[in-house]
Amino acid sequence: MPYKILEKKQIAPPVHLMKVQASDVAKAAKAGQFIILRIDETSERIPLTIADFDAEEGYVSIIFQEMGKTTKQLAKMSDVDELQDFVGPLGTPADVRKLGTVILVGGGVGIAPVYPQVKAYLEAGNKVISIIGARNEDLLILEDEMKAASDEFHVATDDGSKGHHGFVTDVVKEILDSGEDVARIVVIGPPILMKVAAGMTEPYGVETIVSLNPIMIDGTGMCGGCRVSVGGETKFACVDGPEFDAHKVDFNLLMSRLALYRNEESECLENHECTCRGGN
């Protein structure tokens, strides 16, 4: 049962948005959940957080950054192609409810999974402050969409090409120091960003939630490959998460487990690029 690609566009140099026809997934999807896709018979299964979905139109959007072979292959696909597998919605939905003021932080490609949460927190009646950040202006995604869905909106770039010159965490700190009564902070981005953010917010005692992206295969609790340590307990990110209390996550373990197949990933990518060049 292949899944039709409805649209594919590049939204930043290495970042792409893909709309996939998957009406059953779209009907059931909630903010914070993810899907697992497989391009064809020989491909890996890769998890990607749902960036947007429309139950009526029956599509689910994903946003990915070109990294390894699978994401580079995906980047070359278009609306004439199909994905062999598209499973979801997986994971526990984000615990969105009315809390007061909520800060939502998206770093790099992590802006994508934050977006549906921004909409959901706003809809639940919260004051939503969003902060997006990237290395530079060109890498910022969903800026207009995020701005439109937020009460307050901030941008940070590492090189200062747009908004605050520095990290998103600087902006979070400023808001917390300003005396704003913040009920919750949600941070999604590269593990190092989430680790730094967790360390920064901890002294303030503000509940901080991160969405973890470990290596996984089935996404239904069957393989245990995605295990993470939270508060000293082993959890499966696919079913117990992907969202966890940032102050309890062992980020060093997460980062080390994410690097497990680095050599194999480069081998796979090199092979792929050789084949591609050879074929051209």
Partner: protein, 457 residues
Amino acid sequence: MVAREKMPHQDPEKRVDNFDEVALGYSEEQALTEAARCLECKNPKCVEGCPVNVDIPTFIAEVKEGKFDEAIATIKETNSLAAVCGRVCPQEVQCEQYCVLAKKGEPVAIGRLERFCADREREKGVEAPVKAEPTGKNVAVIGAGPAGLTAAADLAKAGHAVTLYEALHDTGGVLTYGIPEFRLPKAIVREEVDYIKQLGVDVKVDYVIGKIKTLDELRTEFDAVFLGTGAGLPKFMGIEGENLNGVYSANEFLTRVNLMKAYRFPDYDTPIKRGKRVIVVGGGNVAMDAARSALRLGADEVNIVYRRGEDELPARQEEIENAKEEGVVFKLLTNPVRILEGENMTVKGVECIKMELGEPDESGRRRPVPVEGSEFVIDADIVIIAIGTSPNPMILSGSEGLEVGSRGTIVVDDSGKTSLENVCAGGDAVTGAATVISAMGAGKLAAKTINEYLKNN
């Protein structure tokens, strides 16, 4: 007494370098010779040992006369997965245990004859089954493993419209993700599933019940539901170092190898760590499968660490022998204490402790007790935990009123009914991890119960 025909095997030295099937199957001549050993008892006991009641005496008599087409037809009357059962059933504790010849020597090789009949039919090309007259009722079957496939086949044969939901991208359940190619070629599983599709079963893969739809929703969409969701959740030991890089659950290790075909990396994209020194913890069939897969992936040394003794190993004798022939080392009466950390959060070894057997525990087996001060270290770069699995709780979200036991198993009565009207369950989801054939037996029973229910409702 004529000796039992030996199963031809791939040479151990060669087979450790490939994933091709180890047991090669009887020739026609061997099948005829073996079938001729059957004494055709007046009161045959063998059928009693078969969870799906295959008419063993009839099919063996047919093989004896060279009527192979008739023989497979007899088997298929009650068993829609004959080629699978002929390979992975523990016949030695089922049908063959009851064979009268077993009292004095070796029983008739019922499993091998079953396999012969199924393989011969497949080579010839399986005839498409005749579809039953539609009843106008529809049934949802959750999980395309042995229990679900069997239930789906029987329900379709009865004329119900069956939709089979599977969470993974391929059907077969443990037959596909768990049991390796060298013990059960996937082409066989695929053909058995094709047969079930020909019966009219609508197979939906990539479909996670509990997420995309709940059981409550399915109960209103369908006249009846069968839950064959298996025991897919891996158990860990809870010891230090279990999250280090290089520690796999047997489920993950085998899923990478079998479902994702990591043994063919980089032709297939999914990687697996090929350890040089591998430790597998556990003594069941899954542990044997993991150990033998690790050897085939190029390990120099594979140790099975098991806390009880040789006699207590839960794996089939045949699999233990195969593993030993291939060079797997058994460290029995040994239990891991902690996994030792090397560079960059990787595994460098396992600290173990020697055990001795004490008084019998609640399972009737003698309880292993640690021998104080006997700790020692086995070097390793990969550790595979194969100490069992438990039912996946995912199905339980959105299943109001479904009664579940203390170990997460679904509670059923002796006809396979759950606490919910129009919902039956069977297989590992009910019993906890058990055998392919017992799951098939449960699928069969539940299909019968659902049939009766649908007649009256």
